[in-house]
């Protein structure tokens, strides 16, 4: 695969920098999204089991 811009003799350093930054950000996003799903699932399980907050009823009004 060819690189669309000429990155010169140090292309490897530039590509590595962008790739690592992308990997770190992607990992962070994935962690936060998966954590959100996990917390929602646990909450749903607890509420199905009949455990609810006293304030939940007020919030739904």
């Amino acid at each position: 695969m060819s690189v669309p811009v000429d990155l010169g003799p140090h292309a490897g350093f530039i590509v590595a920098a962008y790739a690592i930054a992308l990997a770190v950000v992607a990992g962070l996003v994935a962690w936060i999204v998966l954590d959100h799903r996990a917390q929602l699932r646990i909450l749903a399980d607890l509420e199905r089991a009949g455990v609810t907050r006293r304030s939940a009823a007020r919030e739904e009004v």
């Binding site: 669309p4 140090h10 690592i20 954590d35 917390q39 929602l40 909450l43 607890l46």
Partner: protein, 244 residues
């Protein structure tokens, strides 16, 4: 909506739900524009050549790494002084995000240093103080995980955060106070930027994109933490009901 009204976690989550789609779109658009400008429009530097393109991710991530700790310091005051219910949530959730940006800063700086300085790393004041910032982030994250009770963990983390904030001016002025391989301040300095507009403009756009990404991820992480505390409360209620 007043700030005090956001003290209600449910109200905060509702606001976050409304804001997040807009923030995600703004972040994606800012990155698309910024990266296009950085990779296809900005010229090579007359000395560094194309390696200057690393600057467009290195500098914003450095700013965000420091901004993350500054945000944590303000939230620490909110926890200790004003006892705002969401202050410790903001403080806790900013730590991993700030750590990630600081890690990007360190790694991209190292990859930029090898072709520019001839070395990946030197133990000079700027690089070492940023490494200390990263280690302090890890320390705060470890502290949050060590103390089970969120309110006790918040007080300890707040004190550590405020002490660690001393490192921020050291990072900023390290290039002026000590001899270093790192270049002096060239964007945020008295007398204006020393960077040519064709390179400065993409840098500012990527900085906006990184800032939007930080805000988006922080809101999402705060929403998660509020849910996690709700789960903890429900589990405690279930345990109390099981053992009256």
């Amino acid at each position: 909506m007043r700030l005090s009204e956001l003290a209600n976690p449910s109200r905060f989550n509702a606001l976050a739900e409304r804001l997040l789609p807009w923030l995600v779109v703004a972040t994606v658009l800012a990155f698309a524009l910024g990266l296009y400008q950085a990779l296809f429009v900005a010229p090579d530097d007359y000395q560094q050549g194309a390696t200057v393109k690393i600057m467009f991710i290195h500098v914003p991530s450095a700013w965000l790494g420091m901004l993350g700790w500054a945000l944590m310091a303000v939230a620490a005051l909110g926890t200790l002084v004003w006892r705002h219910p969401l202050a410790d949530v903001a403080m806790k959730t900013a730590a991993p995000i700030g750590a990630a940006f600081t890690l990007i800063c360190l790694v991209t700086g190292s990859l930029w240093g090898r072709p520019t300085w001839g070395t990946y790393w030197v133990w000079d004041a700027r690089l070492t103080s940023v490494l200390i910032l990263f280690l302090m982030y890890l320390g705060v994250i470890a502290l949050w995980r060590t103390v089970e009770d969120p309110s006790r963990a918040a007080r300890a983390a707040a004190i550590l955060t405020l002490v660690g904030a001393v490192n921020l001016p050291i990072i900023k002025f390290s290039v002026d106070w000590w001899n270093t391989l790192h270049q002096p301040a060239s964007v945020l300095r008295l007398g204006g930027s020393t960077i040519y507009p064709t390179i400065l403009t993409p840098l500012l756009i990527t900085a906006i994109a990184f800032t939007l990404l930080f805000v988006t991820l922080h809101l999402m992480a705060m929403r998660n933490e509020i849910l996690r505390r709700r789960v903890r409360t429900l589990r405690l209620m279930r345990a109390a009901a099981a053992n009256p």
